[in-house]
Amino acid sequence: MANNINDLTADFPVLDQQVNGERLAYLDNAATAQKPKQVVDTLVHFYEHDNANVHRGVHTLAERATAEYEEARKKVQHFINAADNKEIIFTKGCTDGLNLVASTYGEQNIHEGDEIVISIMEHHSNLIPWQQLAIKKHAVLKYIELTPEGTLDMDDAKKKITDKTKIVAVAHASNVLGVVNPIKELAKLAHEHGAVFVGDGAQSVPHMPVDVQDLDVDFYAFSGHKMMGPTGIGVLYGKADLLRQMPPYQYGGEMISSVHRDRTEFADIPFKFEAGTQSIAGAIALGTAVDYLEKVGMENVVAKEQELVDYVLPKLEALPYVTVYGPQDPKKHTGVIAFNMDNLHPHDVATALDAEGVAVRAGHHCAQPLMEALGVSATSRASFYFYNTKEDADQLIKAIKATKEFFNGGTI
């Protein structure tokens, strides 16, 4: 691994290229992170040397693949400090994990008149599963609103979470507002009212130390690809006693202990929730991504991203035609920076920035109710990761200025 956190290009060949004749500044990390070559090498090595299905064969390759797959589970367990590796379920991604909880725990425990509390800043993947469950069960879906500053309104949370609440599901970090939510406090509130707490860790696990036992969350889902792992692999953490009481999510191979003509005994956790052949290479390569992050050190990831935010946010806010959403104070803002330029549609902005080599996201960021609450139809979003540099930040600012000039103050 490259030793200097300020120059990791040797590990990320994809970053070392030109797009549209300009140096690439990849600032779409909230959508997906780039993969270090160690992760890519793991995938190649697995397919070239160890490929076999897991937990099924007695031959050597099957044993190797199984050992590597289970080793990856332990790496993830330690990374988020879960009490037991059985509490780590491999999924397709964060969305899959949240849907798993809604359609098993939710299906089992939500009844007519019960309340599910989420926040207005949720990504659709932590919104629609609960909304649809509420519709199906004639339950009530409640939203925790925002403070004027763009943070989660904890006074409102205290009002919305009641003794009727059965599930509270909130993102640990927002994919739009760049805020970290006090989920430890929310989990405590939920527990005081007899509810469980589901954390969406898609935007937090890649960027900060996460300790699920300290947070005392009941479920916590995240994606591999946003933390430099492959796509198609994710993790659902759940407390063992809850997971054991839940019905299976899908039926099929690997999730059984014995099958008869008229009944099936299901396997213990985590296998009860891993029906069919999983993304084996994906899980193993996710383990390599975890190794990489641990070598960098999550405290260094936090420090580097804070340094970049401290550097770029004031520069953005100083541009009179730019509006930044969420807290304006860099100390309260993560590397996810949603913004708009006066009189310019974010799609035009993103096309223009791309022409200058800067990759950002434009759109509603799968958070349409939040867009409505902010009074916009869409925003642009630059999102940083620890491998980004001040040069990337400078390129963003320069490209925004050039965009302003190109459209000459004005179009829609």
Partner: protein, 152 residues
Amino acid sequence: MGLSKLNGLYREVILDHANHPHNKHDIPDATSKMTVHNPTCGDTINVSVDVEDNRIKNIGYTGSGCTISQASASMMTEAVKGKTVDEALNMAKTFSDMAIGKQHPQEDLDQLGDAQILTSIMEFPARIKCATISWWALQRALLKKDDEEEEQ
């Protein structure tokens, strides 16, 4: 390269249509209306078209969106006003085909008027939907049977 790459996409005539859109209004008593959403950006376009004797007597649109979608809607309304329904549907097909890189004879393109400029959108695959959404709305409005709403 850089932003100069965009000169083709944001030609003066396109910016002019975006900044000063033509026919950007609702027609309350139109014979047909259609709302289309672009789920990738959350934009919405409403097209109202008044057809008399199989000819587009009047057409208007409302909604918000990027430069490309607004300019395209403006150009579309100019291009099809006064055309027969079949002519307008053919134009919509020509435009959609051009946007995905299918070739059409020059006389088809000439029919499109200013709008043919936007067929350069095929150089920018991520923006094709922005340009085609108003033509799609027109097509749906002309073909629809009842008060259906269509998502793109």
